[in-house]
């Protein structure tokens, strides 16, 4: 399922370098993501995985390199412009709007699909109401897809962590993205919640056909789901390949377990 080789990659990340003062967070990483591919990025803590996501979503600006998404350069664009191009993400530590309900959080995912301006909003009747009702219907489909019905009207701050992660995935899906970035979707979850999330990620691929970049520490999940894996360490690429190859790659083993003593 590595996608049609004749199609251009949806994302091309070329030799990107990002440094904070002396710390090189990303030090020359290159990869690409095929249309409808599930691409995983793994590596020890502090390896630069989340920095890659922050470069992609426009939160950080790299000093060098090139990032092109669906044929357009992402560098120099602001986060909301990148979101409009069709790039959606979730965060390692859930970044939901805790005071808002599940419905409102998902409606916020629809933000750039709702075209009316402040003046129509003030009047409400007519244009604004039509758009709200239509987008509410779209959001309800996602609630149905992720089985969030029973929490619909609760403020997300009151929900258990596993459900919050699912709501955040829902908010990203509500954006109707062309590429989905998942930052540790099962981090801190128990076995049951992890299995639920794995099922949703598979559903996203099969029913919605959205390519995914997955950053995750749960190796079982990565090896089961990913088409290709990129291993990074200290901001540098260690290896790229199919899950089976990566598992036995000597460099990868060294990055995770340390130098093998030869004496």
């Amino acid at each position: 399922m590595t996608g049609d080789p004749e199609l251009a990659p949806i994302l091309q990340f070329t030799d990107v370098r990002l440094a904070f003062a002396g710390v090189r967070a990303i030090d020359g990483i290159t990869f690409h993501v095929e249309p409808s591919e599930l691409f995983a990025i793994i590596g020890p803590n502090g390896a630069g995985k989340t920095s890659i996501f922050n470069v992609l979503s426009g939160v950080y600006r790299p000093q060098a390199g090139e990032v092109s998404f669906a044929g357009q350069s992402l560098l120099g664009r602001r986060p909301h412009q990148i979101a409009r191009l069709g790039l959606a993400r979730t965060f390692q530590n859930v970044e939901l709007f805790a005071n808002l309900t599940v419905l409102e959080n998902l409606m916020l995912g629809r933000h750039h699909h709702i075209a009316y301006g402040p003046l129509s909003a003030l009047v409400w009747l007519g244009r604004a109401r039509r758009a709200e009702v239509a987008n509410r219907a779209a959001v309800e489909e996602i609630i149905d897809f992720l089985e969030l019905e029973q929490w619909r009207r609760l403020p997300v701050g009151m929900l258990p962590f596993g459900i919050q992660k699912r709501v955040e995935l829902g908010r990203a899906l509500a954006m109707q993205p062309k590429l989905l970035l998942l930052d540790e979707p099962v981090g801190g979850m128990n076995v049951e919640e992890t299995e639920d999330m794995a099922r949703f990620i598979l559903d996203i691929r099969e029913e919605l056909d959205i390519p995914v970049i997955l950053v995750e520490h749960d190796m079982g999940l990565v090896m089961d789901l990913a088409d290709r894996v990129l291993v990074v360490d200290f901001g540098r690429p260690v290896a790229t390949g199919k899950p089976g190859e990566i598992q036995h790659h000597p460099e990868v083993i060294r990055a995770y377990l340390g130098e093998v003593s030869t004496t």
Partner: protein, 378 residues
Amino acid sequence: MRDSYAGRLQRRATTRRPLLHTSYRSDMALLNTRAKRYAVLALLLVGMSLPFLLPDAFLTELAGGSAYAIGAIGLMLLTGFAGQISLGHAFFAGVGFYTAAVISGDPDGRALGFGVTEILIWLPAAGLVAAAAGALVAPLATRLRGLYLAIVTLGLVFVGERVFAQWSAVTGGGSAGRPPPTVRLFGYRLDADGAFTKPQQLFWLMLVLLVVFAVVARNLARSNVGRAFTAIRDRDIAAGVIGVNLTKQKTVAFAISSFYAGCAGALFYTTVLNVNPNQFNLFLSVLFIVMVLIGGVGTISGAIAGAFLIALLPRFTDALAEWLPFISTRPQDVLNDSVTRFVLYGLLIIGFLLFEPRGLVGIWSRIRNWWTTFPFSY
């Protein structure tokens, strides 16, 4: 289609079970339960009949409370929803007031005036000029956050106070002041005794305007724009990543909030005879913040409740001075009624922040929950 089987079913479902919504539209309606509809209707009827029940002095205070409430709703949109702490609200109220006063002012008077006394002209103009001023200040908010924005907007009030005091052609000067805008609605003079007394007419005017401004603000709050405001308030980085244009939404928030402030400034002083430019000082800004805090951050009804509490506080301190012999009504005494009022403002802020951070709305929702779960309330 009304007589189809499905239509009959739906009609029966909605008439016999009013809480069952069969369309997103009815689910998302502002007054989506029967209880809310009746409560709002009752509140409006009581409000409209108050001029026949209360003395004129009280009505004047309530009219002022309505004008305050319009201003507080504006600050609520900016601070309570969009999370941009602004101490500059008094400045925008001043801009609105002087716009209205100049447009409706006496052309032969001491200060500049164009003699257009129709409220339907000077009120929107006051709001629009203030909104333009707000939009000009908004770029600051895109660069600064939290306390830094508060400090910069504080500077705005000081600059504004100085300009208002010096620009005597418009404001009448620091010591003299100028009369407030004249209120005519379709040619009928409202701020002079006519078919009803001046306080009665102004009270009705302010109440109707408050309802309009509140409904419109509520619409904004529940719309895509209002959701974007709360997103910026709660997590601005995540808001950007999901597609909210921070610069644009902060500008919209500042402009709309200033529109409300401008209208409030223009309306509030119509009950008095002369307005001194030092009215639009830091204290007025702080008063608006107090209304928002006491009412309950993040709710339009909270802004209204907070505004009326502040507007009626003088009445309370006057009553207190009557009952407590150590509070005097003479201005030269240390503990007089206006000092008591300031102390009460302070105590109210501290008390609410400590014991009920959700404000008056929080108290109300607690009472409501107690009743809905009765007799199993804990």
